[in-house]
Subunit: 448 residues, 2 copies
């Protein structure tokens, strides 16, 4: 390997200063999840292929593994050979983890999971072949109370609020509401109608109306009312009256309206000027396992990415034949969100290094003295590095500047009372003061 | 998928209470690395197969990817097809990352990296098909001063010292020392001799002596002195005099002795009763790119795992033909270390949930009151969850007990001045006191 490697399309990698921001985002979100009692887990990267391919249409995106020098085409090497593939989301492995370890978990089980997933699809902005997801879910055994729907949306809203992102809109709907409305309206092919309405972001309204009639067997009037429902979008519970005014009666619709109103009300406290929660009655989510709450999250100015997060309630995602595990969760695409923001320069890079102080080096012989100052600072939690070589001080200051290290410490090379101390320069302001590493503290909070 | 899944051999997964410990270990090590100015990066999981297969004999362990529904057998889909494989360590992808991004990195570049790697080998205790590594490296452009060898060993010693592990022994040697000694001794096949001496942990001494003569072309006397060198093992710099007393003169040997002594002396401050650093002149490390310092780390009582970490100096791991990047680093096997300790019950599990407080629920109608108490506690950084359902208080207490939540908060359901407060019970001691969520603090530090 002696040529310069070229990037691999669809596998974005972050420079240290961008990774620092991603780590801050992950730490902040993790802290919020833990404040709400969510435990972290990690699942292995691979699943047996038959577990991954359950979804049917998603098959083509799976990366299958084989050992380069294996004696067969499978990744396993004993017993019945099992073909393995990389997981394409964190939901399938989480469902499998719950089934496999159910005897050792406490339910309802709140977990968050931050890991990469892989899809072999054609890369484009916001769609990568390797991407990191941030998932939260609450999963119950046999049953899971509805209030957990409110909980996961509120927790995700609280987790997103402090992040340095463009404004986010959490758009919530409820499958029971849509299904009840369509049923009450008398539409025969409810699933077909949902699938058609889901095309509203790609096709013009008239075209969707035509498809509702032609493909989903709706009358022109039914199609019109489906479209009216789909255009309701408000940040409070006024959608309830607007749906009622469409004159459809159905028990499931009542439940859906009540649940969606509870989510919008329950999140009111978490709403800020940066993260809003709104009822958007057009949101359906393509995947068919959602049974109640459904949501997608959009980022202002980045509507071209489509949603940056999605989720909802699934009443039977995991089952081992005897026990069923209902759950509600949200998956946030952290790579999908951050990588375009870094590329556009919208999100400022963090520090290139975690160091707050560079201890300068007078000469190679006095390295132990510089190291002693660094050790004293580190003992007090101040991230510190020692200059790599005893260049002229001007060069050492530029070394710090290039890395974004705010302070340079010049050791006292004398042997008197000040030995082992010296002076510290804030290279942003140019201020330089005598200082003792056992007491000195940087002006701002330690950036590390 | 309606049957209970079975574990996949070689892909260990942690329960939440074990993952909590792994996270603490990772957070503690990361903090130490950052205090020393090491920046975190992550590399993609895959590399072009030709970059992974450079090592020759390691070929058989690589997992190759192909898309399940791909139109060819490669993972790429445009341009010259490139076969991709999962990385088997973090060194190869780091070397590639440095070459690819060299124009945007500052050298010497200190980085730490904590990610899984994959090998398709037969699983056994401490050897998994997916395993997480903790790597630190310092890499220079064209040159890298020797003092960074001392730095990485000391930083790793400091990072390991606070961990809840059995005692660790960092055993260091120097390739220049061995090569210089063998050369000064007049052994023709120095590489062959190193490879033979490396077998001392598998073969008896006499057998190794015979192989040195038969295969590496040593005389009986030379073989005897090689073995004497290999048995030197001390926790200070007294090895220098012991090597000198073997009567071999060589310039490279002098350099090696000086460097190894500097590492042992430079780490003296970091040595504790839990992490020792010793010169062990038998350590060679099989891989051929090491050129100076070499080390392995062993865990007391777990010698059967062989080393839990290894590393050293490589003068030319990465090169793009024009520029060479020398480096020095250590790779610590966190899965290899923790999984056997969890299995043996040597390492105690952490909390099943991060919550410090469970707010009890009087009835479903008063959920908002319980939620308000939880929010007040969370605002003060106290991880809190609200009971999932309004069972009898005895059952809610047992719910907390099963999860290891130390406090249960009983809300005041009255409407007087105490509304929204209540009493909090330490379920370990049984103590119960009136408390206000805006001022109450748990006795111990918040475990989250």
């Amino acid at each position: 390997m002696s040529e310069k490697p070229t990037p691999l399309s669809g596998f974005p990698e972050l420079l240290p200063e961008h990774r620092a921001v991603e780590r801050q985002v992950i730490a902040s979100m993790s802290r919020t999840f833990e404040l709400h009692g969510f435990a972290n887990i990690e699942t292995r990267a691979v699943e047996p292929i038959e577990r991954l391919s359950k979804g049917g249409e998603i098959d083509k995106e799976i990366y299958v593994l084989r050992r380069l020098q294996g004696d067969d085409s499978t990744a396993g090497d004993s017993g019945p050979s099992r073909q393995l593939g990389l997981h394409f989301d964190l939901t399938v492995p989480f469902a499998r983890y719950v089934l496999e370890h159910s005897g050792k978990l406490e339910f309802p089980f709140r977990r968050y999971q931050i890991q990469p997933a892989w899809r072999g699809e054609r890369p484009q902005e916001g769609r990568y072949r390797q991407f990191t997801q941030v998932d939260i879910d609450v999963i119950g055994r046999d049953e899971l109370a509805f209030h957990h729907d409110v909980e996961v949306v509120r927790v995700m809203a609280e987790a997103l609020a402090p992040l340095p992102l463009p404004p986010l809109s959490i758009q919530v709907n409820n499958r029971k509401l849509i299904q009840g409305f369509y049923r009450g309206l008398g539409i025969a092919d409810v699933t077909g109608a949902i699938r058609t309405i889901d095309k509203l972001d790609k096709l013009p309204r008239e075209e969707v109306a035509r498809l509702l009639v032609d493909d989903a067997g709706a009358t022109t009037d039914q199609a019109e009312r489906c479209l009216e429902l789909a255009t309701i979008r408000v940040q409070d519970t006024s959608f309830v009256d607007r749906v009622r005014s469409l004159g459809v009666e159905d028990e499931l619709l009542d439940t859906g309206l009540r649940e969606l109103a509870a989510v919008v009300e329950g999140c009111a406290e978490a709403v800020t000027d940066r993260v809003t929660v709104e009822a958007n009655l057009r949101i359906a989510r393509g995947l068919d396992y959602y049974t109640g709450t459904v949501l997608e999250i959009f980022m202002a100015g980045y509507e071209r990415l489509k949603s940056v997060a999605g989720g909802g309630r699934y009443d039977a995602l995991a089952t081992d034949g005897r026990t069923t595990y209902p759950g509600v969760g949200i998956s946030f695409g952290i790579s999908r969100t951050l990588v375009p923001l870094f590329n556009d320069g919208v999100l400022a890079p963090g520090p290139k290094v975690p160091s707050t102080v560079l201890v300068a080096l007078v000469d190679e012989e006095s390295r132990p003295a510089s190291e002693a100052i660094a050790s004293a600072l580190r003992r007090r939690g101040i991230a510190t590095e020692v200059a790599a070589s005893a260049q002229k001080f001007g060069k050492q200051i530029r070394y710090a500047e290039r890395r974004g290290i705010p302070y340079v410490w010049f050791p006292d090379t004398g042997t008197g009372a000040s030995a082992g101390t010296g002076e510290v320069k804030d290279i942003r302001s140019g201020d330089q003061v005598a200082a003792d590493p056992t007491t000195w503290t940087p002006k701002e909070a330690d950036p590390s």
